[in-house]
Amino acid sequence: MKLTGAEIFIESLKKEGVEYLFGIPGGAIIDLHDALYRQDDIKFILTRHEQAAVHMADGYARATGKPGVVLVTSGPGATNTITGLATAYMDSVPIIVFTGQVPTPLIGNDAFQEADIVGMSRSCTKYNFLVKDVNELATTIKKAFHIATTGRPGPVLIDFPKDVQVAKAEFKYPETIHIRGYNPTYHGNPKQIRKVVKAIASAKKPLLYVGGGAIISGAHEEIYKLAKKLQIPVFTTLMGIGAFPEDDELSLGMAGMHGTYRANMAIQYCDLLISIGARFDDRVTGKVSDFAPYAKIVHIDIDPTSISKNIKVDYPLVGDAKLVLQEMLPLFDQYSSVDWKEVRKPWLEQIEKWKNEHKLAYDMQTDEIKPQYVIEKLAKLTRDEDPIISTEVGQHQMWVAQFYTFKKPRRLLTSGGLGTMGYGFPAGIGAKFGFEDKPVYVIAGDGSFQMNEQELATIVAYNKAVKTIILNNGYLGMVRQWQQLFYGRRYANTNIEVQPDFVKLAESYGLKARRIRKKEEVEDALRELVAYKGPYLLDVIIAREENVYPMVPAGASLNNMLLT
């Protein structure tokens, strides 16, 4: 029996196990919505902006590990997805975005709501397609899911012209797919693995550098085993937070621009840096020429282009982090007679010293609410409920990274690579769709929150108990901090005191909301927020000019930290 393109679309998504589509309808995609209307398997989540729809799919994907799927219309619907695509591309998140397109005979004619979205999205997708023939639709969808979810994951876009949606073809969904130019390397080269094992075993001051790739590949258990077995201290990047329990004695927390003193010092004095699924981003390395000056570098990554891109690597090892570590771990059995605790003692003692020299700290003696205090309190109150925390971008994001103790992977959703303000709130909503019974907290700044606040409607419409905390300082705080420290306190265009009353705003959408201004209110308000069964927004008026420390100024080397 022949099916229409719209029906093939739905049947294909069912084959892929898709539960939700996030998006907004429009003229060029109305046939798909008509087909969606006539079935119950796939739920369409109507957002209020296409950018937010992509972030929701992204949050869903990061939290669950399953691909997130978006459906939007042509023209502006499609162009609004660009920021979401670029965000997902930078952080290697598997999402598939379907965009409506004008009928194929009109493509190129500047038709109403026509945009060359395939051209525009080429540099912020892992791959993209324009489907011109309904007979190729099912195979194209199969390819899109395959490309998005394998190798180094990433966003894939399918442009879907209106005439292809109504044209008919036999539906046959391919069981497997082979793309001849696409063969990611999963297993490590055995010879190279042996070299790396030897290097690790003979290092005096080894250090594990764990990035987002470790979370994507699910390598956290293997990393834990490696670290514990050989007593190697571990730091993570922002994207790697949760890949190693931050309450473990070997954890150094996050490194980099706002990393801990001990992690940054450890980098500067280690003799072997073992990078797993990280890409030596400038926010981690600081001044490249001064980075880890005494260290040989091991780099395990599934993407060969990440290796030796920024920093020359001594032991490149291409492969999936989890598989490579599984292949590597048994090889350490040959050193079973070594007492690693004893061998590591001087190095771990040095690290302990750094740990005690400069702990993450803030002034606790004020009446004002310190944002770090809010995060610490929230971490305490939610310790047993294993929540998902989604952040926006800016100072609050760094405070979360520093002061919320993460113990498991896929619990922190944050835009690391692109640094997209407006990401966190919709991403948290998306995660809530993935985990009905898991608490989701969105920690936002007042600037970021305003970039996608319209999604308050979405959480009310679907009654999602997303709890939002706005750390409100009336500034674009991170930029203001730079202006204070490096631009002579000239606060150019960072004062955003003119803002909505967030409590009234939330209430106008039908949310429960509250505002606090004093430190003694924090605990009570957070308890209320945590206990409340429904969407809730807490507007926390914080110390206005609080800064994020430590801070490595952009382009400085890691041991040049501003500490207060």
Binding site: G119, R122, S123, I147, R180, G181, Y182, P304, T305, S308
Partner: protein, 160 residues
């Protein structure tokens, strides 16, 4: 340092744009680029000449390999290879220069492929040095128009 990449790609819409975009987005320079289908159905060969330090060239090779539409990347360097380029050169000619132009064309084993009262169009093939050499000789005689194909290249078969 200059390098020639020969890239076998899927012959489909958008491939050229993906490759060009890779170079422009990462700030790499394309000195020349040629593309045409090869004997295997559905595939094309692109020959790109680019310049950069060792690290940049290594990245370019990896980035090209990463593209899903790219089947194979051959970097010309160590192994002996043949490279050729073709140029069409339209010359202003008059009674004084016609003979000299023909002599030069003859020395370079070029061909005159079109003639008018005051012009010759010359076809010449060879490695890029040879093309540069004939151009430098013809230049003073009055080049009207020039079209070069850009390099194409292949690894030499091993001789027994």
């Amino acid at each position: 340092m200059k390098r020639i990449y020969s890239i076998i790609v899927e012959n489909q819409a958008g491939v050229l744009s993906r490759i060009a975009n890779l170079f422009s987005a990462r700030g790499y320079n394309i000195e020349s680029l040629s593309v045409a289908p090869i004997n295997e159905e559905g595939l094309s060969r692109m020959t790109i000449v680019t310049e950069g330090n060792e690290q940049v060239l290594e990245q370019i090779g990896k980035q090209l390999n990463k593209l899903i539409d790219v089947i194979k990347v051959i970097q010309f360097g160590e192994e002996p290879f043949v490279e050729r380029e073709m140029a069409l050169i339209k010359m202003h000619t008059d009674m004084n220069t016609r003979a000299e132009v023909l002599r030069i064309v003859d020395i370079f084993r070029g061909k005159v492929v079109d003639v008018s009262h005051d012009s010759y169009t010359i076809e010449v093939t060879g490695d890029s040095d040879k093309i540069d050499a004939i151009l430098s000789l013809l230049e003073p005689l009055g080049i009207k128009e020039l079209a070069r194909t850009g390099k194409v290249a292949m690894i030499r078969e091993k001789k027994r």
